[in-house]
Structure formats: C-alpha cells, structure tokens
C-alpha cells in the first residue's frame, strides 16, 4: 500500500512534516501570544526545510530570512508593546467543539480518499538546473522585469507611508503615552516606549 523508499529524503520529509504539523497545532492551542509566534516561527522553519528537499534553496533561505527572522521579530516587537499578562480564557461551547471536530475529520477523510484514489502521472525526472538561483535572477531581470519593478515601487510607497505615519506620533503622545494600546502602565512598558523613541 505505502510503497515508500526508506532513504534520507524520506526521513527528512517526515521530520519536517512533524515540525510543521506540531507547530501549526501548537499555534492554535497555546494560550500565550509569544508562544504562538514561536510555534509559527517553527512552522516557517519546517517549510524552509521542505523547500530545501525540493531543491529550491533560494526560496528556502529567503523563507528563513523573511518569515522566520524578520516577520517573527516584528510580531514579537508588536506583542511586547502590549500587555502580556492576560492569556485568552474564552469559554468554548461543547456543541461547537464537537461540530468542529466532525468537520475536521470529514475534511481529512475527503482529502485522504481523494489523494489515495487519484492516479498521479509518473513525474518526469526533476531538472533543477545547476544553479537555480542564477536562473531566478535572470528571469526576474528579463521576462518579469515590469512586475518586479512595480512591486519594488509598491514596497517603497508602503515603506515611506509607514515612516510618515510613525513620525507624526511623538507630537500627540506627550503625557498620555499609549492609553488606547492596552498598556497597563507598568514601568517596563513605559521604559520600552522610551527606548523605542530613543531608537528612532
């Protein structure tokens, strides 16, 4: 039934899948926001591992750099500015939970059945090329130059917009620092705010 070749690639695939699935489940079930971000960073790392298995090294390490590194740190920064003492204590309804479980199982059954019965065409031997990073670069700067440049303009606009919004804040903030951000006025948070002002 499962004609699986037990080689290094399979072992690696299994480990990365385990990391991704565990990370995703923990992301949903954990109570503290910082813990959630960490488990999500775990998912990003697992995904990067998958890209390495698919011989897409460039995408893999960009994934690590942007998602596991930059996005996670940005989120943690955001979370640290807010109050981290209270954890989510929402009451769950048993009926709702039961229905959700049935729905999830049905979806799993459907997907599993579909995957098992589909007759996949025999894949052609993969030709990643000697240096697919070079190929990506060449494509980006020849065939896809217009979308690439448009995207860079969009990002630059967003970047300048963010700076413009952030620069206006300090004038309003004197005295009444962050009343609406859920900060409990503890000394640590205030110190952190001072720190970020300093950093600017």
């Amino acid at each position: 039934m499962f004609n699986i070749e037990f080689n290094g690639e399979f072992v690696a695939f299994f480990i990365f899948s385990a990391i991704i699935v565990c990370g995703a489940v923990l992301m949903i079930s954990l109570q503290k926001v910082v813990h959630m971000v960490i488990s999500m960073a775990g998912v990003f790392l697992g995904l990067a591992g998958m890209f390495v298995l698919l011989e897409a090294e460039f995408v893999a390490f960009v994934q690590v750099l942007i998602y596991a590194g930059a996005v996670s740190i940005l989120m943690i920064f955001g979370i640290m500015m807010t109050n981290h003492q209270d954890a989510g204590t929402e009451k769950v309804l048993p009926l709702h939970e039961g229905l959700a479980a049935i729905g999830a199982l049905a979806l799993f059954g459907l997907l599993f059945y579909a995957i098992r019965t589909t007759d996949f065409p025999k894949p052609l031997p993969f030709q990643g090329g000697e240096d697919n990073t070079m190929k990506i670069g060449q494509l980006l700067y020849t065939g896809y130059i217009v979308p690439f440049e448009l995207l860079s303009i969009l990002l630059t606009v967003a970047f300048i917009g963010a700076i413009a919004i952030a620069r206006r804040l300090p004038e309003k903030l004197d005295g009444t620092a962050g009343e609406d951000t859920g900060i409990d006025g503890g000394s640590t948070e205030q110190a952190v705010q001072l720190q970020t002002k300093e950093a600017e």
Binding site: E9, V11, F61, G69, I73, I76, F77, M134, Q195, T196
Partner: protein, 338 residues
C-alpha cells in the same frame, strides 16, 4: 566530505556525518576557550597588565576553570519568568550560530556543505539568533533584560541591512552566492586580486556592520553594563549563561571566517611565489588576524551612544553600501563587459 553527503543514507554514512559534526563542534569549542583566553591576554597587554596568569602555565587553563565554574554553578530560573521560553532562548541562540559554520570553506578540499546559496544561508540563519536574544530578554521578566533585548534586536536588524548590501558588490564581482566560487573568483596569484581592494568601500562597511552584529565594543549597547546591569542575559546563570557567551564567540569565529572568505581571498596565497605554503595555513593566518583585529578594537574604542548608533547605521552605512553596489555595477558594465 561531499561524497558522504551525496551518497545514499545508510547507517554507516549517518554515523560518519554525525562524527564529523561532533569533531567540528569540539574544534569550535576549543577555539572559543582559547579565543577568550587570548582576548583577555591581548587586552591585558594593551593596557599594561598581565592578563590571566595563575591557573596553569601562563594562565592557559584560566578559561577551562571559568567554564567549570559556570557548569557547576546553581542554575536559577526567576519565579516570574516564562519558564519555557527562558529555557528555550539559549538553545535557539546557539543552534544557528553553530549551523552557519557549515558553509564556510577552509580549503579547496576541506569544506562541510557546498551550498549554491551559501551566503544567503549564513545571513538567514544568523537572523534567528536575534529572535533568541529578544525572547531571552522578554522571558526573564526583568526590565533591564527586556531593554537589552530590545536594543539588541533594533541594533542587529538595522545593521544587518548594510551588512547584506555591502556584500552585494562581492557577489556582483564573482557572479555567485556560493562561498567556494567567491574564493575561486579571487584567485590570480597576487593579494590585489582579493576583494578587499576592489571592494574597499564594501569592506569598510562590512567590517563596521559585522562588529555591530557581534554586539561587541564599540557597539556593545545591548550589554552596556553601566546602563543596563548586564543586558538581555542579566537573569541567566550557570549553564544557560554559558550558552549565550558561547554563541557570542562562535559568531566571532563565523564572522572572522566569513570576512576571510569574502574579502581576503580565503585559502589563496598573497603572492605567486608563496603558493608552496598549504592553503589551510593562509586561511588560518587571515582568520587569526581578523580575530585579533576584533580584540584590538575592543581594547581601544569607547562605546558609541545609542542615538548615534541608529544614525550611523541608517544615515551613513546604508547609503554608502548602496553607493558601493551602484559603483560596482557601473565598473562591471564599463570595464569588464564593455
């Protein structure tokens, strides 16, 4: 080493790969032990002191004694700390520090992983350590630790940008992200073929940004003891503290090796008549010089102010590194292609 990595995954191969990893870990730990000893000794000499000279002959066992002390010290976790993240942070800091070393080529034959995006791999993984430092600072539930963690993250993120852009010139010249190809592109016999002269602007930006990435003097604000007690690791003790220290020194190793590979020609000899000396010796000499240079600036520079730090990163280093990319592209277009 590539033969084992590309071969089929048998138990024998797995054991061989694992043993190589273990041997390399031992080498790195040995480096860290004696890098700390030499740092203290060199700074001592520069300040007309003796440095460590009591434990063992010439004080050679001083670091060993210090490590032993750290290992048998009581391991405390503050009651209000986030236990899980507090224990996770030192591990998360150390693992990327060690894994980035996999792509460093030492000689033509001696390397661990021949990755075609080696440079990107280094940059990407070293970013994870920043995450660990922020987490360590946050999980300690101590305001000095949190401030140190935040400072560290702000500093490491803002200096990573010029660091990466400053090596774009090197990538343009060699046409590859593979660190072995970058060293090969610097061959030519003489030391002026190495990247540090054609890329002198990039080299200067790289060195400044690298020292800042390492959180060392003059950029050691995250652990500025006069302002922050000790920075992000103020609540850590014993073994966990040792891990943060270890991370710092393993990054010294990594940055020194990376500088050697990117700008100082790796294993290439400085002149054609010196090529009888094995490549590994040249690599080690250049590597040792960079490590010494890092100790040297630690002994001679004062600490920069926090507002100057961000200004230097964003207003000076970033435009200069962008200018360097532009100049390199113009140079290649006019002189090499044209």
């Amino acid at each position: 080493m590539g033969a084992w990595l590309n071969g089929p995954m048998t138990w024998g191969n797995a054991v061989v790969i694992f043993l190589w990893g273990a041997v390399f870990l031992m080498i790195v730990l040995g480096f860290v032990t004696y890098a700390i000893y030499f740092e203290r000794k060199v700074i001592g000499w520069m300040q007309f002191r003796q440095g460590p000279n009591r434990v063992g002959p010439l004080g050679l066992l001083q670091t060993v004694a210090d490590i032993l002390k750290l290992l048998i010290k009581e391991d405390t976790i503050p009651r209000k700390a986030d236990r899980l993240l507090f224990t996770l942070a030192p591990i998360l800091a150390y693992v990327p520090a060690f894994t980035v070393l996999a792509v460093i080529p030492y000689t033509q034959k001696l390397y661990f992983a021949d990755l075609n995006v080696g440079l990107l791999y280094y940059v990407a993984l070293s970013g994870i350590s920043t995450l660990a430092i922020v987490l360590g600072g946050w999980a300690s539930n101590n305001k000095y630790a949190l401030l140190g963690g935040m400072r560290s993250a702000a500093q490491m993120i803002s200096y990573e940008v010029p660091l990466v852009i400053s090596v774009v010139g090197v990538i343009l010249l060699s046409g590859s992200l593979n660190l072995r190809d970058i060293v090969e592109a610097q061959s030519g016999g003489w030391f002026w073929n190495w990247n540090f002269l054609p890329q002198i602007i990039g080299f200067a930006v790289f060195i400044i940004a690298a020292v800042s990435e390492l959180n060392r003097t003059p950029f050691d604000l995250p652990e500025a003891e006069s302002e922050l007690v000790a920075g992000y690791h103020v609540e850590y003790s014993g073994f966990r503290f040792a891990f943060f220290m270890l991370t710092e020194y393993v990054y010294v190793y990594a940055i020194a090796a990376l500088t050697t590979v990117l700008f100082l020609g790796g294993w290439q000899a400085p002149a054609p008549f010196l090529e009888f000396v094995p490549g590994i010796l040249w690599f080690l000499l250049k590597f040792a010089f960079i490590v010494f240079f890092l100790f040297w600036i630690r002994a001679t520079f004062p600490r920069i102010r926090v507002d100057q730090l961000m200004g230097l990163g964003w207003k000076v280093l970033l435009p200069v590194s962008l200018l360097n990319v532009f100049l390199t592209a113009v140079y290649i277009e006019v002189f090499i292609k044209g």
